[in-house]
């Protein structure tokens, strides 16, 4: 007969262990809050530096003027040309990356063997790890001349080749995150479809992709953010000419390329021209945020419960 133990012998150690747990929990929470602090810091820095700019340039001009020449003798402060350049390069990039990334994701998730998937995925991630400067020159020196053969009259600097190269760069993000989402669709869903006599492609497009839609949307959003935020490729290959155009074969400047150009340039840091990069940065942040929010809403909307 073993006598029932009273909890007393443990009491002290339990109290100590629980105290330790609470301390650690707050430390962990603090680490989680780093993300929040970072966001706040970003907003704070951008706003603080952009305020003098906006005290000089009316917000309405900033948002509606169609010329962006903040560094010229007769400055005009319309952000639209930069936004247009950003959106056009992003669009070109996505036009390549979304189909390619999705096809690769479906192929890896539904067709390829386990071994192929496990080795191809990380290898593919290498495409996203190439230094962006390298990509910039790849666009200028290899892609543009090639495109010029297909499209005679294409200028040496254009959003098309910059966008395509950004597209190549973000294919792995789109593919890898979408593939994860497709993998997460439970196998019994696939089995249900196969048992009905569906082929792999039918199962992939009619059951797996709709089931993984929220994850795939997240992948696209990540790809968009990457494309919107890409700097060096456009700085090198798209031409730094703020140009309000929706034609990808023209040259243009994007928000990011403007920022990096000016932050390296010879402008006095107290000048309106220099402060304009923070205003531009703010717009960039708002654009990525907007995409993220739209994505978040879409994800919510399409989330499937199995």
């Amino acid at each position: 007969m073993v006598t029932p133990k009273s909890p007393a012998p443990f009491a002290k150690s339990i109290r100590r262990r629980r105290a330790r747990d609470r301390v650690i929990e707050s430390l962990l929470l603090l680490a989680g809050l780093v993300a929040v602090f970072t966001t706040l810091a970003i907003v704070w820095i951008l706003v603080a530096e952009a305020l003098p700019f906006f005290s000089h340039v009316p917000l309405a001009d900033f948002l509606t003027d169609t010329m962006w020449t903040p560094l010229f003798a007769e400055p005009r402060y319309g952000i639209l040309p930069l936004v247009a350049g950003t959106l056009v390069t992003t669009f070109v990039a996505l036009a390549l990356a979304i189909p390619a990334g999705t096809i690769i994701a479906i192929y890896l998730s539904e067709f390829a063997s386990h071994r192929v998937r496990e080795s191809v995925k990380p290898a593919l991630e290498m495409l996203g790890a190439v230094p962006t400067v390298v990509y910039g020159y790849f666009a200028l020196v290899m892609v543009t001349p090639f495109l010029q053969k297909l499209l005679p009259g294409l200028p040496g600097f254009n959003m098309l080749s910059a966008g395509l190269v950004i597209g190549i760069m973000i294919v792995p993000y789109v593919a890898s995150v979408s593939e994860d989402a497709m993998r997460a669709v439970p196998n019994y869903m696939r089995e249900g479809s196969y048992a009905m006599g569906a082929t792999r492609l039918q199962t992939a497009t009619r059951v797996v992709v709709p089931g993984a839609l929220s994850g795939i949307a997240a992948a696209y959003i990540l790809g968009i953010s990457r494309a919107v935020g890409e700097t060096m490729v456009v700085a090198v290959a798209a031409g730094l000419q703020p140009n309000l155009t929706w034609n990808p074969t023209e040259s243009a400047a994007t928000i990011t390329s403007f920022i990096v150009q000016v932050s390296l340039g010879d402008l006095p840091h107290e000048s309106i021209g220099y402060q304009s990069i923070f205003a531009a940065g703010l717009v960039l942040l708002v654009i990525t945020l907007a995409f993220n929010i739209v994505g978040f809403a879409l994800t919510r909307r399409f989330r499937e419960a199995y």
Binding site: S113, H114, P186, Y188, M189, R190, E191, G192, S193, Y194, A195, M196, G197, A198, T199, Q202, R206, V207, P210, G211, E304, A305, Y306
Partner: protein, 278 residues
């Protein structure tokens, strides 16, 4: 120290054995011979021989891991989706006598003739209508009117029509577990399968839903051959005409249900059905 628990089972007793009688005369729908199956190096089925009679319900029972599901999934080549698996022997499907597990036979063709219902109800995250229409669409059917007609028929056959006819467009996932399982049965029925496989179709359901599915299976005997895996011996006794007892990847005993449960031919079968393990 043996305690006798007497268990009444709703099934035809031996005395008025009409099923047994018909059984002898029913033609074979499928016939497994020397069927072996490997997961990689692990042999899960060891030379099974077994006949499935047309328009009858055949139950597979046996302890967990004995290979019931593995055997069942050979019939619609579900294992083709798992890399590293291998079939041996044959399963002939009649009347046209094709070998279901032969390498030359296309698994998609096989699956188009043989339906399956799974342990956990797995409706697609689509509308109820689209769930049932899925098999038709996959087969390339386009005409809306025709599809609607077939969907309604299938849902009626699955005894689900009255419950869902007013909300065909709501998600299949919005149904209760038992309704979901009947939806899956409707989905399978819509494609008019010759043979219907059930893998423990009621193990995730409550007693009332279970009873409805069992009724349904009994009714299905009129139109389609059924092969059902169950871990519930009472269920096997209630719904099936024939029962096979499997153990460690082998077929230990196969007989008319009434015979197998009352007078098992092998010691292992008896141990199992009397609950000595499982």
């Amino acid at each position: 120290m043996q305690m006798q628990i007497s268990m009444p089972v709703e099934a035809q007793s031996l005395s008025d054995a009409p099923r047994g009688a018909i059984a002898e005369t029913a033609p074979a729908k499928a016939c497994a011979s020397k069927l072996g199956f490997w997961y990689g190096n692990m042999q899960a089925l060891k030379g099974l021989d077994m006949e499935i009679r047309d328009k009858r319900v055949t139950a597979l029972i046996g302890p967990s891991g004995c290979g019931k599901s593995t055997f069942l999934r050979c019939f619609n080549r579900m294992h083709d989706l798992t890399p590293g698996t291998r079939y041996e022997g044959s399963i002939h499907l009649y009347p046209d006598d094709i070998d279901l597990v032969s390498r030359d036979v296309d698994p998609i063709e096989v699956r188009m003739r043989i339906g399956m219902v799974f342990q956990k109800p797995n409706p697609f995250p689509k509308s109820i209508f689209e769930n049932v229409a899925y098999g038709l669409r996959v087969r390339g059917m386009r005409a809306r009117a025709l599809i609607e007609e077939e969907v309604e028929k299938a849902l009626r056959d699955a005894a689900l029509w009255d419950e869902v006819k007013d909300r065909l467009q709501s998600s299949g996932l919005s149904l209760s577990g038992g309704q979901q399982q009947r939806l899956c049965i409707a989905r399978a029925l819509a494609t008019n399968p010759e043979l219907l496989l059930f893998d423990e179709p009621t193990s995730a359901l409550d007693p009332i839903a279970t009873a409805r599915i069992e009724e349904l299976i009994t009714a299905l005997r009129e139109r389609v051959t059924v092969l059902i895996v169950t871990h519930n011996m009472q269920q096997a006794a209630r719904v099936s005409d024939y029962t096979a007892f499997m153990y460690l990847g082998e077929l230990v005993e196969f007989d008319a249900t009434s015979k197998l449960f009352t007078n098992p031919g092998r010691k292992a079968t008896e141990d199992y059905i009397t609950g000595r393990y499982g």
